[in-house]
């Protein structure tokens, strides 16, 4: 199969769009010190609500809003258990993952494999005609542009706004946050819900744009775990996390091309490869960054100091 480079890159951009949104959402959550392990289920559930609401109301906007609210609601439940009640965030996340996934299959069953609305491609006038970059960056649907925009927005928010700074302080040292007159609990709950909203959007990005439709399986199962791994191994920096997301998209695509390029290797190898390959690439990066050489230090970064730890005032 021969394919032009711009088409290849454009395909990566599209496939990675939901992953970018979800991973950025989780980055925000974890920067505030909360681990939301429910991503995989949340994505499936919000993909379902997004699809069902959009097709029943015939409004894509409502579909996206519903999916975002779903993600936000699941995150809120996690925040209640993991932040407000100081229970294990990991346990809560696990339980919610499975609850959400099965809830999506149960509630969504009547709508499975129905024709539904989908987001159209909206090439940006003029820009889409630029050679190379026009195809790669400016000939997509709105949600892909949103995923592009989310990257600078997220970085800007985290590193160049007051609330972004507060969010980071809550994950770094809630006591310090409290000493500066800010309630870290509130910051953490809001950050968790904001992150959840982005994850919800990622779900809708699947069911309304990237893999339009709903069914069991929808095809977005498993992505949540990749997003979670990306955040850890992307060292909690949005840019590195996003780079990982695109790397995953590329691995998936390469798997398809390599199936042709290496006919002697059983095709199954390439079909199965992207998920474990991604996780092990990340683990490798992680392992090598333990040794302090300059290149791998690029990838090293530390978790927020209070990640996953509850805070309560004496």
């Amino acid at each position: 199969m021969d394919i032009s480079l711009p088409s290849f890159l454009a395909a990566i951009a599209v496939m990675a769009a939901p992953l970018v949104l979800a991973a950025l959402g989780e980055t925000l959550t974890e920067k505030a010190g909360v681990v939301n392990l429910s991503l995989d289920g949340t994505i499936v559930l919000s993909a379902m609500t997004g699809f069902v609401v959009a097709s029943r109301s015939e409004s894509l906007t409502l579909g996206f809003v519903a999916a975002a609210l779903t993600g936000c609601a699941v995150a809120a439940l996690l925040a209640v258990i993991g932040v407000w009640l100081n229970q294990s965030q990991v346990a809560a996340g696990f339980a919610l993952t499975f609850l959400c996934r099965d809830l999506a299959y149960f509630l969504g069953s009547p709508y499975a494999r129905q024709q539904g609305p989908q987001l159209a491609t909206l090439p940006v006038p003029f820009f889409s005609d630029i050679p190379f970059f026009g195809k790669v960056l400016f000939s997509h649907s709105l949600i892909v542009y949103a995923s592009f925009l989310a990257i600078p927005c997220c970085i800007y928010f985290l590193y160049h706004t007051r609330h972004g700074l507060l969010l980071r302080t809550a994950g770094e040292n809630p006591e310090g946050c409290w000493a500066r007159g800010i309630n870290p609990q509130t910051v953490r709950i809001i950050a968790t819900m904001t992150g959840g909203t982005l994850v919800g959007l990622a779900g809708a990005a699947f069911s309304l744009a990237v893999k339009p439709g709903w069914g069991q399986p929808q095809g977005c199962e498993g992505i949540g775990w990749i997003a979670l791994a990306l955040v850890i191994f992307g060292s909690w920096h949005p840019l590195r996390v996003v780079a990982g997301a695109y790397l995953f998209g590329m691995l998936q695509l390469l798997g398809i091309y390599f199936q042709d390029s290496f006919p002697t290797i059983p095709a199954q190898i390439f079909q199965v490869a992207p998920f474990p390959l991604m996780i092990f690439t990340l683990i490798l990066i992680h392992l090598s960054s333990n040794r302090k050489n300059r290149i791998t230090r690029l990838f090293s970064g530390n978790p927020p100091k209070w990640l996953g730890r509850a805070y309560r005032r004496s």
Partner: protein
């Protein structure tokens, strides 16, 4: 007398908590069903009919209970050691692969019981090996065991597919329906009218007893508990926290592997791609719902197995999707977390 009273109090408190959790979870699910216009009672009746109202159904439930109990026992070890073993699915698969490697070769003219025993021992080692891998990744590389386990799950998934479609493919045509069946004499004995092999049932019960014994009545169990409790202090007692953690991962993986071996040897009589059937994840929920304690695990496994088996009736009788059983299982765990958290808060510990 005093101990009796305090025991009574204790049981009363535990029971009250359990009832609270169940009421919250089932209440929420019922509410959901009512808004969908479905009567929760009909669902309950259908599930009960599909699980406990006949011996045949119940023996089906038991056949689900066995692997679930085995995996949960394994998780009790790892949770005790303070580790999140999310790689259970991969460990089940590796156990099944190890057992198949022997069973597919036939009986070599040896007594089938011997071969089966050997195969199950192999499955324990296969799963244990996979569990140790996650443990090693954590100890040596500082890789969070959640993601190490997840990565290994995917690898195991790839491995089993490759074996089934490649080297171990069926005579003639490779098929996703799995490898060729093992020879009949290597099927574990199932009496007529039973849907579960008595030997497997006994093995599961024995494993649970052994788990309870090891964790509750041996120095090793105490060591594991201490490690999970406070790895920092463990070293003062000449306990090697990393080694203990690795041992827990190996045992946990081994028990999951045993579950996989049993799936191959007495449920499917062959290796097939989805042999792990999500038992690994379900077992995580079981142990969380048990609040990481040993005693409630068999009962919760039974409850979950009834839900899983009974939910098959939902499409047959009510044309409803059977994912509802998963919803109930998840809701139970979430409400357990809520109830325990609220209780702690009420006591002022929060």
């Amino acid at each position: 007398m005093k101990t009796l009273v305090s025991l009574g109090h204790f049981l009363y408190n535990r029971t009250a908590t359990m009832i609270l959790i169940a009421a919250l979870a089932l209440g929420a699910v019922s509410l959901l069903l009512l808004t969908l216009g479905i009567a929760p009672t009909t669902i309950a009746v259908a599930i009960a009919h599909g699980s406990i109202f006949s011996w045949q159904k119940f023996s089906h439930v038991l056949s689900l209970w066995i692997p679930l109990l085995l995996c949960s026992c394994g998780l009790l070890f790892t949770f005790r050691a303070g580790l999140w073993n999310i790689g259970v699915e991969g460990q089940i698969i590796c156990g099944a692969i190890a057992a198949t490697a022997l069973l597919r070769e036939g009986s070599f003219g040896l007594p089938p019981a011997l071969i089966l025993t050997l195969a199950l021992a192999l499955s324990f080692f296969g799963g244990g090996l996979w569990g140790s891998c996650a443990g090693l990744l954590k100890n040596r590389g500082g890789v969070n065991e959640i993601f190490g386990g997840l990565g290994l799950n995917f690898v195991a998934q790839g491995l089993i597919l490759w074996l089934i479609l490649g080297p171990w493919k069926r005579a003639g045509i490779a098929s996703m329906s799995g490898t060729d069946m093992f020879v009949k004499e290597l099927w574990m004995y199932t009496p007529p009218g039973w849907r579960v092999a008595p030997a497997a049932l006994l093995l599961a019960l024995a494993t649970f007893a052994l788990t309870a014994f090891l964790l509750g009545a041996t120095r090793f169990g105490l060591t594991v508990k201490a490690t999970g409790n406070n790895p920092l202090a463990a070293r003062l007692y000449a306990i090697h926290p990393e080694r203990t953690g690795l041992a827990a991962m190996a045992i946990g993986g081994g028990l999951a592997g045993l579950a996989g071996g049993l799936q191959a040897a007495c449920v499917y009589h062959r290796l097939l791609p989805p042999i792990s059937s999500g038992y690994g994840y379900l077992a995580l929920l079981v142990v969380m719902l048990a609040n990481y304690r040993i005693a409630p695990v068999p009962a919760i496994c039974l409850f979950f197995a009834c839900l899983a088996a009974g939910s098959i009736q939902l499409p047959i009788v009510l044309q409803l999707d059977s994912a509802l059983s998963g919803v109930i299982q998840g809701a139970c765990v979430v409400s357990a977390l809520l109830v325990h958290g609220l209780q702690k808060r009420h006591k002022g510990e929060n």
